[in-house]
């Protein structure tokens, strides 16, 4: 009885913390239309700053209250203003995918900055507020204790709820914040400034993120950047519960989640896949909530701001590129060694995963954050089938991943854009904690033999690298051929206008399922190849790695096969660079930061840049389209005059 009450209390406190952070996500989303995947990272930076100001044993401490005040009132609003001005303002009217990529980039930049400033092995401890104080209810030896920290969390959650209510209900800026998403232009005409409102949304969102970070710091001590950044992922489930818009429902969702997590810790049996239930249960709940939520029906979206698409390589060009890649890989296999060879070897395989994303995200416009999960399944199959490491295993990896992709696609068919991204994010987390960690990390490593062709064992790193390059070359040629064909046209059409796609007699759901299965199969193949290179580890297939890969692909060009190769190679290179001390370790964060600034301007990434300029020139000049536009404008002017 008292046990149950304690778990309930802990659950409510956890829920309170989640509510604070989730309400920040909702505030930013509902005022700016941007779902901030970097929300947790802002909280993480806040917690680290608080440690630096008030808990760092190396220099004289500021009082905790002063430290907190600086973090909440100076740092968090500054971050919000910077993010809005540098990254978000240009994205008005951009596609959901691009906005998501930019927030992923922001997440990585904040992680990079944190690691640059607070890297190393120091253990950063933040003690609970009001240490030693607690209120005890019930008999001695039983009963429930509430610590001061817990009371504070509850109080802050309640204050946030009341404060947000008052702000949105009574203050002018609050009312403008509610109105801005619906129709910024109308709001502007009514005298409010949408930019000011968006700025307020970012400042308030970052403030709430920092508040959550400060509150949760002592529970997560010693502070670790990755863990803290992804903690808020659980808050996403609460936000989804409120359909990303309703604050009261978000609070309720956070409370339910907190209780669920707490009871899971207390009462679930110790089976292997349940061992990490507290980590994946909220994610499973997020998945379910997204599936159950009423979705917008298929709806006309109208004309986009820009839709410039890179030219698709013809058969001759793609064959030439494939041959060049294989030749380069042969040379690299012969010349390179050590780290460089590993980079090439790992890079082409990550490139293959990126290629599966070109199909899914670049062509069909479906964002999946779980693509590495399918690679992980492929790697797992490679280890399990036919004694580990055989061509049969490769087949099984591709087949099982593709089948799994189709199965996953079925419930997510009705989701699109942001909701699909969140569902796949949930899937990636559940797969990691319910499957990969217990099945791969915590069992004895499986021996996976390296593949061979008759008379040609592929047993060295150099030959593995060539194998990966050949696989990429073949898959790349096929993907490009498909893009030029009926199916490719359909994927692009589906991405551009699902509603028109349906009204010309094509099945939106079937096509989505097809492309999901196909891309999962390609990712599975990559997983099978990866399994040959290393002793498997769940971290190769986790959410963060997947996010980095997706972002790099977006930076290089999400619609190009060569972009996929470059994304894979850069991921491998960044992995190695970031383990370097000194200036080299800073390159990844800087590169990514530059990349997302670029993304705000160039929807097709680096590889699309030249093309964009060419198109701009063509539009200005002599094309029939240009003439027609002028004629049309003249006609319109004439009509107005008359």
């Amino acid at each position: 009885m008292w046990n149950f009450l304690s778990y309930t209390l802990i659950g409510i406190v956890v829920g309170g913390g989640l509510a604070v952070s989730a309400s920040g996500v909702v505030v930013t989303y509902s005022t700016t239309g941007v779902f901030n995947l970097a929300h947790g990272a802002v909280g993480m930076v806040a917690a680290f700053t608080m440690w630096e100001l008030s808990y760092n044993p190396a220099h004289a401490d500021l009082p905790v209250l002063v430290g907190i005040a600086i973090v909440l009132l100076v740092e968090a609003p500054l971050i919000g203003l910077l993010v809005e001005a540098l990254f978000m303002r240009r994205l008005h009217g951009a596609s959901t995918e691009r906005v998501l990529m930019v927030t992923i980039g922001l997440l990585l930049v904040l992680l990079g900055v944190t690691q640059a400033v607070w890297g190393g092995q120091t253990s950063r401890v933040v003690t609970a507020f009001f240490p030693g104080t607690s209120v005890h209810v019930g008999p001695v030896g039983g009963g429930v204790s509430i610590t001061g920290q817990q009371l504070l969390t509850l109080g802050v959650a309640a204050a946030v709820a009341a404060g947000l209510f008052a702000l949105l209900r009574w203050l002018r800026i609050g009312m403008a914040m509610r109105a801005v998403v619906d129709d910024p232009e109308l709001l502007a005409m009514a005298g409010a400034r949408p930019v000011a409102v968006a700025r307020a949304g970012w400042v308030l969102g970052c403030f709430l993120a920092a508040l959550a970070g400060v509150l949760l710091a002592s529970a997560l001590t010693p502070l670790q950047p990755f863990q803290m950044s992804l903690l808020v992922v659980n808050g996403f489930a609460a936000a989804a519960f409120g359909r990303l818009r309703s604050l009261p429902l978000t609070f309720l969702g956070a409370l339910l989640l907190g209780l669920l997590e707490s009871y899971a810790v207390g009462y679930l049996p110790q089976w292997s896949f349940l061992q990490y239930a507290p980590e994946w249960l909220p994610m499973a709940l997020l998945f379910v909530v997204l599936l159950v939520l009423p979705q917008d029906r298929l709806r006309a979206v109208g004309r986009p701001v820009v839709a410039v698409v890179p030219k698709v390589a013809g058969l001759r060009a793609s064959l030439f590129g494939a041959a060049a890649l294989v030749a380069a890989s042969l040379a690299a296999g012969a010349v390179l060694s050590g780290t460089w060879l590993t980079t090439a070897e790992v890079g082409v395989v990550y490139g293959l995963v990126a290629l599966s994303l070109v199909l899914l995200t670049g062509y069909a416009g479906q964002v999946s954050l779980a693509q590495l999960t399918f690679a992980g399944v492929g790697a797992y199959m490679m280890g399990r089938v036919a004694g580990g490491g055989s061509w049969l295993g490769v087949l099984a990896a591709v087949g099982v991943s593709a089948a799994l992709g189709a199965v996953v696609a079925i419930p997510t068919l009705r989701l699109s854009g942001l909701y699909l991204a969140l569902a796949t994010l949930a899937l990636a987390q559940v797969a990691t904690f319910a499957f990969f960690v217990p099945e791969i990390d915590q069992k004895a490593p499986v021996t996976i033999h390296r593949l061979g062709l008759p008379g040609l064992p592929l047993d060295t790193d150099g030959r593995q690298e060539v194998l990966g390059a050949v696989a990429f070359a073949l898959a790349g040629v096929l993907v490009l051929a498909m893009r030029r064909g009926t199916f490719g046209r359909r994927l692009v059409a589906l991405s551009d206008s699902p509603v028109a796609y349906a009204t010309v007699g094509l099945d939106v759901k079937l096509t989505r399922m097809g492309v999901f299965a196909l891309s999962a199969g390609v990712a599975g193949l990559a997983g099978a190849l990866r399994a040959q290179q290393v002793i498997l580890n769940s971290s190769y297939f986790d959410l963060t790695t997947g996010l980095v890969l997706l972002l790099l692909l977006a930076i290089w060009g999400v619609r190009t096969v060569s972009g996929a190769l470059l994304a894979g190679l850069s991921l491998a290179a960044l992995d190695i660079l970031s383990s370097h001390a000194g200036w080299a370790g800073q390159i990844p964060g800087l590169a990514v930061g530059a990349g997302i600034v670029l993304l705000g301007r160039a929807p097709n990434g680096v590889l699309g840049l030249r093309l964009d300029q060419a198109v701009a020139r063509a539009l200005r000049g002599r094309t029939p389209d240009g003439r027609e536009r002028i004629a049309e404008a003249a006609a319109r002017g004439g009509a107005d005059a008359a």
């Binding site: 298929l298 839709a307 199916f487």
Partner: protein, 307 residues
């Protein structure tokens, strides 16, 4: 059979709203008294969005071989009715009947395969595909993408051009070009869709809708953004299509065009049918002017030239 000879019993020609029979009784005069069943019909359709009754007990029939006009002020429910008829919006009550078959439960792509084509008031093109490819996606909609034909085509850019039948697997570049010719976009095949003017983009949508070989064509304001010459050409095209046996339903504000091409016109306002008749009858009716053409038209007619 000349279109004007059928369709309405004389006593039901145009009557003021207060004298109109209730829609349930009105069903019989919504179509010809005997013979040819409608190609596409909405029967007693109601749709409610939250607190707004977008459509209330609306019935509308579209006959093969005729151009039917649908007019009404903005927000009257015209596009919602289109969505109901094409399967994008499920009605709260009522039925949609295609060629005698109840298709109310079928999704948009199933109805399109049964021959319902449409365009959109807010343009819905495949903006990242070329003009020709937009039309091709429609033309190839019956092709199985995993089939041999699709593979062959991806290798040879436009495949063999054996026939001009939009439903056939050999529907090739020449047929796409023929469709572009038909809507007046000759030579625009390789143009970027997102660089087109609104008028041209509307015609790409029309060509794409025609490419699926529809028996019923629903056009949502196809003339907005077109100049007079283009509108006139479009009117001729619609007349031709109807003469070939297609059923055309047209939402349009241009009364001159309506009068030229429509065999009959239905007026809706605030989600209910307030009148039916020939274009001339509808134009000359004062109640319709009040509801649809607005005060300005009334003022202009009374010689005031209000503004």
């Amino acid at each position: 059979m000349p279109p004007e000879a059928m369709w309405m019993p004389p006593e039901a020609m145009w009557m003021p709203p207060e004298a109109m029979p209730m829609p349930s009784e009105a069903l019989w005069w919504g179509g010809p008294p005997s013979g040819c069943p409608p190609a596409l019909a909405a029967r007693h359709v109601s749709v409610r969005f939250g607190g707004v009754q977008a459509l209330h007990d609306v019935s509308l029939e579209v006959q093969a071989g005729q151009v039917t006009g649908l007019i009404g002020p903005n927000g009257a429910g015209k596009t919602t009715l289109f969505d109901v008829m094409t399967g994008l919006q499920r009605p709260d009550s009522g039925q949609v009947v295609l060629d005698g078959r109840d298709v109310t439960g079928l999704g948009p792509h199933r109805r399109a395969r049964l021959g319902v084509g449409r365009t959109f008031q807010r343009l819905e093109l495949f903006w990242s595909l070329s003009v020709a490819d937009n039309v091709r996606v429609g033309a190839e909609s019956s092709v199985q993408w995993w089939g041999w034909d699709s593979v062959r085509r991806s290798v040879r850019r436009f495949g063999a051009n054996r026939a001009g039948d939009p439903g056939s697997l050999a529907f090739g570049a020449a047929a796409v070009n023929a469709l572009l010719d038909r809507v007046g976009l000759t030579g625009f095949g390789d143009a970027r869709t997102d660089a087109l003017s609104t008028g041209s983009a509307r015609r790409v949508e029309l060509a794409r809708a025609l490419a699926i070989g529809p028996s019923v064509l629903l056009l949502d304001e196809p003339c907005s953004g077109l100049d007079d010459a283009e509108s006139s050409a479009l009117g001729d095209l619609l007349t031709d299509l109807a003469r070939d046996g297609m059923a055309v339903l047209l939402v349009e504000h241009d009364m001159d065009l309506l009068m030229r091409v429509c065999d009959n016109v239905t007026v809706i306002d605030a989600g209910t049918v307030i009148g039916r008749g020939t274009a001339t009858e509808v134009r000359d009716d004062s109640a319709v002017q009040a509801a649809y053409l607005g005060v300005a038209a009334g003022a202009a007619r009374s010689g005031g030239g209000g503004r």
